[in-house]
Structures are given as structure tokens and as C-alpha cells.
Symmetry: C2
Subunit: 328 residues, 2 copies
């Protein structure tokens, strides 16, 4: 199967590295970062590209744009891994539409377009006889959408509960384990590279809320948006609140919840028993599905990381290869 990749940040490089390293039957015929691109119908040498990118900051020819790669390269599936813009979805949103317009399958890790326009994009893909997959948008390496589609096929999903933001979970773990204040734990998260200079997006629950919107739209197709999420962050939590929870054998975690029958769509710090499967440590993510037949199923795994996220992208690519491309 022929693949084009747009975006060569941490995730894009992870995907390129894994395709180069493993024998997956995937040939990359187009690749682009924000300033340059390469088109090569015979297959691009990814070791070279990663080397050049590392040394010069650009991957290829500055006269070739991502737009051109998407429009002109010969590929079966586009890997769209440009940075998330939660307000406009761009440039990923346009890239995805362009590829679908060319009847190409799309795999993305980009939360912006999926949170903003999933229903529209899915309709466009169906109309064009291709698929759009976005396993990497929620829970990093955790294959939650594959699990719902396959292992849990036939189940009705009644509710979702998730620890979807590794930064918040790290901060809460440190506050709980070491009795740190929120400020101390945030400082530590910054030093470890887990928190941005401006941590608003993470600590106020926006990132978790975006992922909850993606989960809800994918599972129930209910067209909810970020504005529908009742959201409280962790930035006002005190060590005292945590201590009170701990005295009862519980702790506090930032939990994203969706229960359609109750109209509930919420991200907030919740008191939760320490023995509950959702209570994971450090930057881990966890998702519990409540279903009619399997009852509660919990998945725990790495919520971020270059190779971990590449795992989700490659799972989607191989699914498309086996189900749609080799079948054709």
C-alpha cells in the first residue's frame, strides 16, 4: 500500500521511523513538513529523509508544499499528523478534505479536525468510498476505537469514563504521592517535559474535553461540541482536598465522563477509590467503557509519545491495507 505523510513533528517522525524499520508492506510516495516536501512514486528512502530533517529542519524540496504532496502524489492513504488547532482545525482540516476529495483513505492523529468536523468528514469519506480513521486522537497508544469496532462488536456502549490527559494525571499523582501543592507538581511536570510553558490547555481540562467530544461523536454520532462539555480543571485543587480523599482510601483524578442516557458530558476532578482500574499513575491514560454485554472494560496505556502514537497510526494503516486496499 502506498502512503503519503504530512507533518514531521514527533508523531510524523515516529511513523516514518517505524515504516522504515519494520516490514509492513507500506511504501511512502509523498512526504511533507511545514516548509518542504518530496514526491517519489518509486518510494522515498525514509532513513535519508529523517536524517536530512534532523540536520536541516526541513525534509525536502522547499518548492514542494504539503498541498502539492496531497494533490499530486500517488498514494492509497494519507497520514495527516500536522499540529492540532482546536479552534479552526487547520491546516489538517483542509488536508483531510483534499485527500478524501481525491478518494484517498485518511489516518490522522489530529484532534482539531476530528473534534470540529467528524460528522462532515465521515460523510465525505463515505460518499467517496474511502475511510477516515483517527485512533491516535484519543489515548495515544490505546486502541480504543478498534476495540469498540471489533472486540466489542454487538455491544451497546452505555457510558465512557476516562483519564485522558497525562499532564493532569502526572500532577495529581505527584500531589497525592508526595503531598505536593498544585504549583510544585506543575513545576515538576514542566521540568520533566510533561507540561507546556502555558499549561492552560491541559490543566483546565480542555484537552480532555476535546478527546471526550471525539469519543462521544465516534461512538454515538451525537454531534456534540466542546461547548457542550461541563468542564472543571485541576488548577484550583488543594493538597487538603487530596488528603481528605486519601483518608477514605480514595484519591482524586481528572475524569472525563459521557453518559448519553443522563445527558452527561463532563470533565472534572472526581474522588475515586484507589483500587478502581481508572486510578493509574503518572502520565498513563485509562478508559473504561460500560457496555450491555461485556459490562465494564478498562484499557490502560501510554497517552503520548512519538512511537506510542505511531503504533495507533500504523494499526489504522494496516487495517485499511487489509480491509480495503488489498481487498480491492
Amino acid at each position: 500500500m502506498k502512503v503519503a505523510i504530512v507533518g514531521l513533528g514527533s508523531v510524523g517522525r515516529g511513523v516514518a521511523e517505524m515504516i522504515a524499520k519494520k516490514s509492513l508492506g507500506l511504501t511512502v510516495t509523498g512526504i511533507a513538513d511545514s516548509t518542504s516536501g518530496i514526491i517519489n512514486a518509486g518510494g522515498i528512502d525514509l532513513h535519508d529523509v529523517l536524517d536530512v530533517k534532523h540536520k536541516t529542519g526541513s525534509c525536502g524540496d522547499k518548492k514542494i508544499s504539503a498541498n502539492e504532496v496531497i494533490k499530486k502524489a500517488d498514494y492509497d492513504a494519507l497520514v495527516e499528523v500536522t499540529p492540532t488547532n482546536a479552534t479552526t482545525g487547520e491546516p489538517g482540516l483542509s488536508y483531510i478534505k483534499m485527500a478524501i476529495g481525491r478518494k484517498k483513505h485518511v489516518v490522522t492523529s489530529n484532534k482539531g479536525p476530528i473534534a470540529l468536523a467528524y460528522r462532515d468528514l465521515k460523510k465525505r469519506a463515505e460518499k467517496n468510498g474511502v475511510v477516515l480513521r483517527h485512533e491516535a486522537t484519543v489515548g495515544g497508544a490505546i486502541p480504543i476505537f478498534h476495540m469498540i469496532e471489533h472486540g466489542l462488536a454487538g455491544n451497546e456502549i452505555l457510558a465512557i469514563f476516562g483519564v485522558l490527559n497525562g499532564t493532569c494525571n502526572f500532577i495529581l499523582t505527584r500531589m497525592s504521592d508526595e503531598g505536593l501543592t498544585y504549583e510544585q507538581a506543575l513545576l515538576e511536570a514542566r521540568q520533566m517535559g510533561y507540561a507546556e510553558a502555558d499549561p492552560t490547555y491541559d490543566v483546565q481540562g480542555i484537552d480532555a474535553a476535546i478527546k471526550l467530544v471525539i469519543l462521544a461523536n465516534t461512538i454515538w454520532g451525537n454531534g456534540v461540541t466542546l461547548n457542550d462539555v461541563n468542564r472543571t480543571g485541576i488548577d484550583l485543587l488543594t493538597p487538603d482536598a487530596l488528603r481528605l480523599a486519601e483518608d477514605e482510601g480514595s484519591t482524586i483524578r481528572l475524569i472525563a465522563e459521557a453518559i448519553p442516557k443522563k445527558g452527561l458530558l463532563r470533565v472534572s476532578p472526581r474522588i475515586i477509590e484507589k483500587s478502581h482500574p481508572l486510578v493509574v499513575e503518572g502520565t498513563l491514560n485509562a478508559i473504561t467503557l460500560e457496555t450491555d454485554m461485556a459490562k465494564e472494560i478498562t484499557l490502560i496505556g501510554r497517552g503520548a509519545g512519538s512511537i506510542e502514537t505511531a503504533s495507533a497510526i500504523i494499526g489504522d494503516l494496516l487495517f485499511i491495507r487489509d480491509r480495503y486496499v488489498e481487498r480491492a
Copy 2:
């Protein structure tokens, strides 16, 4: 898709009930328990069958055997859910061979045939152009094999660690939480219906070892058998040993481990940190996969139960329907 069911114990009844209740596009054309059977090419009324089974103990015509249903009914996939015999695999082993011989897909929850003859059965299925799926043999409702095949496609599975026996986990949870002796906790497990009159199969780790053999053979195709498992049960554990572990923030769980690179295949009580995702409560099951890209992924869910196990069977049936039957 047309389905035949052999076995109407707890799992078979769960499957029949769910097929009757849900609109899954599955029509049952043959059904048998150990003493009777029904063949009806037009589709069997499962509500009636379950009602008759409940009232009389038999589901149908005593002149029609399971053998006859498998050989004569018109179906695409056989659901083989007869009781596990870990020594001979029978009668399930013969039933599965018979259906594969007729070029029928097979879905089973029966650990015996899969632990004893997976490689042979898989070869027969491949030769006949059909598939054999056995999601329900390990971890009840946890869709571990679907996850490895799809969500984690492209990953190398480096190791497995599992809590695969709910009875042992219940006993260990009670010993840990309440300071009970093994004998007291076992008695409680019996009263709750979690342990058999003869608990050997569970508490000596045989059931967990069989599931470990199935996992290893399915993932690595390495042809290991029950004799290859280094096995220690929980029946000699003392409250003192548990107390020592608890003093260090840890506890004891019966862990099944397979690490091919180390030649390790073991079921034994292990000291494990309480915050580890594998430390689940009560009768829950948990499986951690260590992989090259996704790193550690843990699944937690119900390891037994009529409807929970039916969930795994139905997931397999719908996979076969979408991938092989509707495709044809």
C-alpha cells in the same frame, strides 16, 4: 449469516439469548445440547428453545444429536460452546474438526481443543478457507485477541502478564482486604459460587496455565503445552506472606507470565505493587501486553459470566460475518 450452536450451558444460553434479543443479522439454523437437537433451515425461534430448555432440561428432539446438527444443518459458522475437557478436548475437538471439514467457520469458548490442538486446527481451517476464532477462551469478555490483531497490528508482542483466574483473584483479594486465611477465603468463594466443590483446577493454577498456553500459541505460534508451564498455585499461601507484601505497599496475585526471549512460561503467586494496573479486585481478569511500539497496554474486564462470555463469542461472529461471509 447462518449460525449453528452446540452446547447450551451457561455460555450457549447467553449466546442464544443475545442473538434472540439483538438485531445482529444472525439466524440460528441448528442447535444442540448434550441430549437433543433441532435443525431448521428457516431459522429457529430461540425464545422457544430457551424456554423448553429451562423447563425440560433438553432443548429439542432427542433423536437429533450434536453430531447430526454439525453435519447436516445449513450454517456459515459453528458456535462450539460445550464444556472444557483439558485432557482430551472432547467432544469439542471432534465437533470443531467436523465443522472445519465441512468448510464452516468456527467460534469457540472451549479451552480444551484450543490448548491441545490449536496449530493443527488452525492449519485445517486455513486449508479449508475458513477461520477459527476463540476470543472467549481467555479473559471472558476481554477482547484480547481482537486487540492484538487490530489495534496493535504492526506491534511485536514481547511479553504477556495476566491475572487469568477469577477464583484465585477473589480469594487473594479477600485474604488481603480482610486478613482471611486461604481456607476462609476459599469457603467464601464457594458460598458465592466462584469456586467449585473441588477447587484444584483453579487454585493450583491449572486453569490460568491453560489460558497462558492458549495466549502463547495464538500470539507466537510456538506450540507450547500445559507441561511447559512452570506452575505454582495459591493453596499454600499464608496470611503472613500477604501481610509482609502489604507492609511494602504491595500485594500478592496469581500472575501468568510468558516472555519468549527468556524462555519463561510461568504461573505463580507474585508480589506486585498495589498501584500496578494488573492488581484488580475480586473476580476481575487483567492482561498486560508488553509491545515494541505501544509499550505496555493493559486490559481489565470480567473473566466469566454467561452474557460477558457471549459478548466475546458475538464479537467473533460479527467479525466473521463482516470479513468473510458478507464479503463472499
